[in-house]
């Protein structure tokens, strides 16, 4: 009887904790969605053109090396893997086209997004979080400036605009990585490899990847600004905001990737 009562109490406590955790998570998602809506509504004059230009350089141009290197090596590895797999069916001829499609539809935007999440979400959260704990955000508000309009909007727009360009560059380099391995290691003729790549690559393959990139860019900047503006309590709070921003941006990229793939490609 005693054991049954204890087990019941444990089950009740577990159910309660699960319920509270779920409610907390849903509340958090609601706050993030509200913040995203607030950012959208704050895209209005006066525009911070100078800040937008700065952020395009910081988020776009300065992320190019890491995105390019990631794509180059991923394209090379992808060609090797597809060759190993397709050799089982005597379908090695498909290596160029499948490498290209894999890069532009999936790996280019997703890995590019994750690299930008690591680099940009962390730096946005750290920068804005430091401003928050050092009262610079309060100082902005006392100068009649809305921190969301002044800080979040330029970063979100810059990431939204820069990411498709980064993804396009990453796609090109990923295909070149596959080309290099295909020609140097797998015995493909160079012109044939390129012809196979271009022949089977469709407009929507490329466009869908670029749209994914834009969405991922916006999510990265939203996660960074959201957590930065919620930072509290000094250096520890800034560190926690930075970590949360990167985790949130990464998970959202993977979840959004699945949803967009369903939307774009399910029959």
């Amino acid at each position: 009887m005693m054991a049954r009562t204890t087990a019941l109490a444990r089950a009740t406590a577990l159910a309660g904790a699960t319920g509270r955790g779920t409610a907390g998570f849903l509340g958090f998602l609601g706050r993030f969605a509200g913040f995203a809506g607030q950012v959208c509504l704050s895209i209005r004059p006066p525009f911070q053109w100078r800040e937008l230009g700065t952020q395009l350089v910081v988020i776009g141009w300065m992320s190019l090396p890491v995105v390019a290197l990631t794509a180059l090596f991923t394209g090379a590895a992808l060609a090797l893997q597809i060759h190993a797999g397709s050799a089982r069916f005597n379908a090695e001829f498909a290596v160029p086209s499948i490498t290209a499609i894999g890069m532009v539809r999936e790996l280019g935007p997703v890995l590019g997004g994750l690299m930008v999440a690591a680099r940009v979400a962390s730096s946005i959260a750290a920068e804005i979080g430091t401003m928050k704990v050092s009262e610079q955000i309060d100082a902005l508000r006392m100068q009649a400036l809305d921190p969301v309009q002044f800080l979040a909007v330029p970063r979100v727009l810059a990431a939204l605009l820069a990411m498709p360009v980064l993804v396009a560059a990453g796609n090109a380099l990923g295909i070149m990585g596959g080309y290099g391995v295909g020609v140097a290691r797998l015995g493909f003729d160079g012109p044939t490899y390129l012809r196979n790549t271009l022949e089977y690559l469709e407009f929507w393959d490329v466009a869908s990847g670029l749209i994914k990139g834009a969405v991922f860019g916006a999510l990265v900047a939203l996660a960074g600004t959201f957590h930065g503006l919620r930072a509290r309590g000094g250096a520890q709070g800034v560190g926690a905001a930075t970590k949360s921003a990167v985790v949130m941006a990464s998970v959202m990229i993977l979840a959004a990737n699945y949803l967009l793939t369903e939307l774009f490609f399910s029959a």
């Binding site: 006066p46 401003m131 009262e135 610079q136 309060d138 508000r141 006392m142 100068q143 009649a144 400036l145």
Partner: protein, 243 residues
């Protein structure tokens, strides 16, 4: 005028303000003192609309329950750590508001005004193009003060203006605040636990304790009060012999 009536504020289970009421008449300088964690900074944030109070009324310059952007034209604020924008040079920090918004000023005129306000707080034009990280703590406070007075606001708030400064620099900042407030005929409210700030800046004094106003009166009354808690605070416990 600054007025707060029955302000309450809690953060989760922690109650910080338990019904604070105070009034600062036009042209008067009120210093709010109290130990660490008594709610001084939270009171300031509630007054400025940076934290919404749970209950109670705020009236600043005739604005009821004002939000920060509504106060910008009426209020100047010196933050505890100066809160200068790291990415901007000093003159753009001072002229920050003048360079933005619908009524923005030409950059040349804004810079000229910023240099004038920097001179008012004892900083030369050579400081204008430096970045905040290149300044000492005292210089940052002066730049913060220049930013607070750039729009000639009728109401000024100072949050721990001498925190982190050596006694000589703290004295200079106190005298600067006194002269700036007197010169402008501004209504001022200063949060501090520095007794030199109380002596140099206050017309009136309010002591905050356990989220309530424990004592209010003139500066001279505060310095000579026999209220045991205020007296201990003012003397630093020197006469109680506590170690």
């Amino acid at each position: 005028m600054i007025s707060a009536q029955d302000l309450h504020k809690s953060f989760g289970a922690k109650t910080v303000l338990r019904g604070v009421s105070l009034t600062v008449a036009p042209g008067e300088s009120l210093v709010v003192i109290g130990g660490s964690g008594t709610g001084k900074s939270v009171l300031l944030k509630c007054l400025l609309g940076l934290e919404p109070p749970d209950r109670g009324q705020v009236d600043i310059a005739g604005l009821k329950q004002p939000r920060p952007h509504e106060l910008a034209a009426h209020v100047g604020m010196l933050f505890q750590g100066a809160a200068l924008f790291d990415s901007l040079p000093v003159w753009q920090n001072v002229a920050f508001r003048l360079l933005r918004g619908r009524h923005r000023m030409p950059r040349g005129a804004a810079r000229e005004l910023a240099v004038e306000k920097l001179a008012r707080v004892g900083l030369g034009p050579e400081v204008a193009d430096l970045f905040p990280a290149e300044l000492s703590g005292g210089m940052q406070k002066r730049v913060g003060l220049a930013r607070a007075i750039v729009g000639n606001p009728p109401i000024l708030f100072f949050d721990e203006p001498t925190a982190g400064l050596d006694p000589v620099m703290a004295g200079r900042i106190n005298r600067l605040i006194r002269s700036v407030v007197s010169e402008a005929g501004a209504t001022a409210m200063t949060i501090t636990h520095d007794m030199r700030t109380l002596s140099d800046v206050a017309d009136k004094v309010a002591m905050l304790r356990d989220g309530r106003i424990h004592w209010q009166g003139s500066r001279d009354e505060a310095l000579t009060s026999r209220d045991p808690i205020l007296h201990e605070f003012v003397t630093g416990g020197a006469e109680t012999g506590e170690t």
